[in-house]
């Protein structure tokens, strides 16, 4: 049900409810899935999970940012803020998907990549850049879905895809409204005002050419009916995955390049 909430109301909804996470959706959307661990270079980041499983019987690779449902889960997954090894695990599994001709499904749900010493030392910039560049030419279909919040480069590192879908109340932004207000106006308390002018809603994403599809949420938000929202997600994937898999891969890559190539506003 479309309810025309403001950006600020949607932020509250995503943060202050028991909004479902990837761990809720996995068993309801996929079958026979096995989680795969580690980037083979440094470690295993719990903020991004990777799995191989089935969607309607078809093998797929699943890459997802993980939010916790309580404080302990959140501590374990670092509040869904990945380190470089998370992105490198994602790339490893994406390349594996390419090798075995499986489509990749990414679930984005992060306030942003983690800002810390270790993250810088292990090359956060390089890790994100590499994912963006490599996903652009990965020779298998990629579909990304924003579940809750998608913040900055840490979201885009799983967001180079053939089609991006947003859950109805999800947001995608260049940085958090709080960060935006504190940098631009030196006043973090103006975050509500920032959220309204930044254009971060699902409708904004479709209008700006960033997203193709909006997945409807149950009345009041995804947390009100997990079965219904899972069904909506599955219905979307069941339609889009076969469609993309049927396409000639060179054609698909050309369209993927063009999707991002044409975003921008300038005059000559």
């Amino acid at each position: 049900m479309s309810e025309n909430k403001t950006a600020w109301e949607r932020i509250q909804l995503v943060h202050n409810t028991g909004r479902p996470t990837i761990n809720d959706y996995l068993p309801l959307v996929f079958t026979d899935y096995y989680e795969m661990h580690g980037d083979r270079l440094y470690g295993d980041d719990k903020a991004i999970i990777g799995a191989v499983g089935r969607l309607d019987g078809r093998p797929v690779t699943i890459i997802a940012q993980v939010k916790g449902r309580d404080i302990n889960e959140n501590k374990a997954c670092n509040f869904a803020m990945p380190h470089p090894e998370g992105y490198r695990k994602a790339l490893r599994l994406a390349r594996q998907a390419e090798k075995f001709h499986r489509p990749v499904i990414c679930f984005i749900d992060t306030p942003g990549a983690f800002c810390g010493i270790a993250a810088e030392e292990r090359g956060m910039g390089e890790a994100i850049a590499k994912n963006i560049a490599e996903f652009m030419t990965l020779r298998t279909p990629i579909i990304s879905i924003v579940l809750g919040e998608a913040g900055s480069g840490g979201a885009l590192a799983l967001g180079v895809c053939d089609e991006l879908a947003m859950l109805e109340n999800a947001q995608y932004s260049v940085l958090s409204p709080r960060g935006f207000a504190s940098i631009l106006w030196k006043d973090a308390s103006r975050e509500q005002e920032a959220s309204e002018i930044m254009r971060i809603t699902a409708e904004d994403m479709v209008r700006l050419g960033v997203a193709e599809t909006i997945i409807e949420e149950p009345l009041g938000g995804a947390h009100n009916d997990l079965d219904k929202i899972s069904e909506n997600i599955k219905e979307y994937l069941s339609q889009v995955i076969p469609e993309k898999c049927q396409k000639d891969i060179d054609e698909l890559l050309k369209e993927r390049y063009t999707k991002f190539r044409k975003i921008g506003a300038f005059i000559e």
């Binding site: 810390g116 090359g123 956060m124 910039g125 480069g153 631009l184 930044m198 921008g264």
Partner: protein
């Protein structure tokens, strides 16, 4: 008259208060040196070797062969994709002040005879943040280089994404990285020269994708800003954190090259990859 002259000499000799040569205060070592000396060294701190910021025009002048630069898309200006208040006014003012239309200049040039595509970012223009124009000009530069079998040299500097363009600015990371990949997949050489400061969305896109990554000494390189990290971890970071030397030690940079040697190093690297005076025919 002679008396006046004598007064001036005496005053200078005594360090009198009406003669103060303009000084440069280094942001790295905090040392003071005469501005004239700093400028003479093309903005390198005489005390600690910090390589300061150059305008795009100055960088081109000290890097490429005289009269060889041909600019691409010089007139391109950004419109206002999310109707951000006062964005246009701010840009008009900057255009006047810097002689630039946005934060990057791109074009073709030769370096000691070797042809290449060059891009130079300029931190005077909204901290060289990446919006639609920066993204589009860089993507076009790589596409041109791919079509014409030319190498690309990018001098990066940036505070990150251009917030005033919202999500559209974030998407420029994908646009530019995609074009870098296209050029790379066709065998093109891409050299990144990181200059002060290279951060945020530019670090997390084309700046980190060079076949060869060079940095100038003592410059700042990072993804997250220093203050953001300090606020997250609630402790002060060491002074050398995120400097070129730190990132070199961590394995993210091939070499640190001084400005006075840059032109010659770039020329050698171009020739090593077969881009000599005849182009890349062989």
């Amino acid at each position: 008259m002679f008396e006046d002259f004598f007064k001036v000499v005496t005053k200078r000799f005594n360090g009198g208060d009406d003669y103060k040569p303009p000084m440069f205060k280094c942001p790295r070592c905090q040392g003071l040196s005469p501005l004239s000396r700093y400028e003479e060294l093309h903005r390198v701190c005489p005390a600690c070797n910090y390589h300061g910021r150059l305008s795009a025009q100055e960088r081109i002048a000290i890097t490429v062969d005289k009269e060889s630069f041909r600019e691409f898309d010089g007139g391109m200006k950004s419109s206002n994709p999310i109707d951000f208040p006062e964005y246009e006014e701010k840009q008009e003012e900057l255009r006047e002040r810097t002689g630039l239309n946005d934060a990057v200049i791109t074009g073709t040039a030769t370096i000691k005879g070797s042809p290449c595509v060059v891009g130079v970012m300029d931190s005077r223009y909204m901290m060289a943040s990446m919006g639609s124009v920066v993204g589009e000009k860089i993507a076009r530069a790589f596409e041109y280089a791919a079509a014409n079998k030319l190498p690309v040299i990018m001098f990066t500097a940036s505070g990150g994404a251009r917030m005033q363009e919202g999500i559209v600015s974030l998407m420029q990371m994908a646009k530019t990285s995609g074009a870098v990949k296209l050029h790379s997949d066709q065998g093109g050489l891409y050299i990144t020269v990181l200059t002060d400061p290279t951060t945020g969305g530019v670090t997390a896109s084309f700046a980190s994708l060079g076949d060869i990554i060079i940095a100038e000494p003592k410059i700042l390189i990072g993804f997250a800003g220093r203050r953001v990290i300090e606020n997250t971890i609630r402790q002060r970071l060491p002074d050398d954190f995120q400097l070129a030397e730190f990132m070199f030690e961590k394995g993210f940079i091939d070499m640190i090259v001084e400005r006075r040697k840059m032109r010659s190093v770039l020329s050698h690297l171009l020739k090593l990859h077969g881009y000599d005076k005849r182009g890349a025919e062989q």
